[in-house]
Amino acid sequence: MASQPTGNIELLPEHNLARYCRPRMVSGGILSSDAFILRGEERFLSTNWLEYFHDTDRGIQMSGVRASLADKGFDIRPGGRFAVINIRLANQFVTRVQLRFLLLGQRNDPSHAGIFGYTTSDIDVAGDLSESVRELHPAIP
């Protein structure tokens, strides 16, 4: 059963999230659905809220995400990509379940956000999310 988080800030349809995707997940500029599958005990898909860093400038937003993940000791690989998930677009693709996009805000990563509302067995939702992605950015510029 999908988790029902409480006490976090609900993000808006016009907001965007970045999901780090390992080099093994990206083939010919296309992102594998595997990048959006929840695994094991994961209750949500881990992402970063881009508008936390700047309202509109994608370059500043992506630099902020890279710095945040580096601060957390996250191992970002040169061939990796950041997928940008627009919440409105994601909701147009994912229709079988109701997703929630929440700002979780950790002390060492205030932009940390999660996509809730699906489970490890919702393969189709992972596929829908990957199809909704319209932007990929290099993990290391």
């Binding site: 390992r22 594998s32 659905s33 595997d34 189709d124």
Partner: protein, 143 residues
């Protein structure tokens, strides 16, 4: 194109190159290597690659194919370059079993039986052909 159960990824890559699929062979070699592996992740397994190869050589498509690899070592085939709403992601769990998500020409998701996203690769190929996602290659037609 039946493979022996001992066929390795290196042998499968060689077969792909013989077929003129050098890009896929290179990608498979990369996925079978330790390059870019995170702790706890597995490189692509031989049995998963066999499943992909058998599926790939049984069907043809107007989409090119991309390859990824799950942390479990499952090869993931991505048919995502269709000119319409069709798409397919297939995880080859071993030589026979697959997990998948796919969209028909109408945009509707494909589901098979009670398990919806899990089946064997021959059933998946048959359903995909029936739904117009892919077509049989060579002598598979009508089987």
């Amino acid at each position: 194109m039946a493979l022996a159960s001992s066929t390795t990824i290196a042998e499968i890559s060689a077969r792909l190159r013989e077929m003129g699929e050098g890009e896929l062979a290179d990608r498979l070699d990369y996925l079978a290597s330790d390059e870019d592996l995170d702790p706890g992740e597995s490189p692509a397994t031989d049995e998963s690659a066999r499943g992909f190869f058998e599926f790939f050589t049984s069907v043809k498509s107007d989409s090119k194919v991309g390859l990824a690899c799950s942390p479990e070592g499952w090869v993931v085939g991505e048919w995502r370059w269709f000119p319409d709403k069709r798409s397919a992601s297939i995880w080859f769990l071993d030589g026979e079993q697959v997990m998948f998500t796919a969209r028909k020409r109408s945009g509707e998701r494909v589901a098979i039986g009670e398990r919806k996203n899990f089946t064997d690769r021959f059933t998946l190929a048959k359903v995909f052909v029936q739904e117009g996602l892919l077509s049989w290659r060579l002598s598979q037609q009508g089987t």
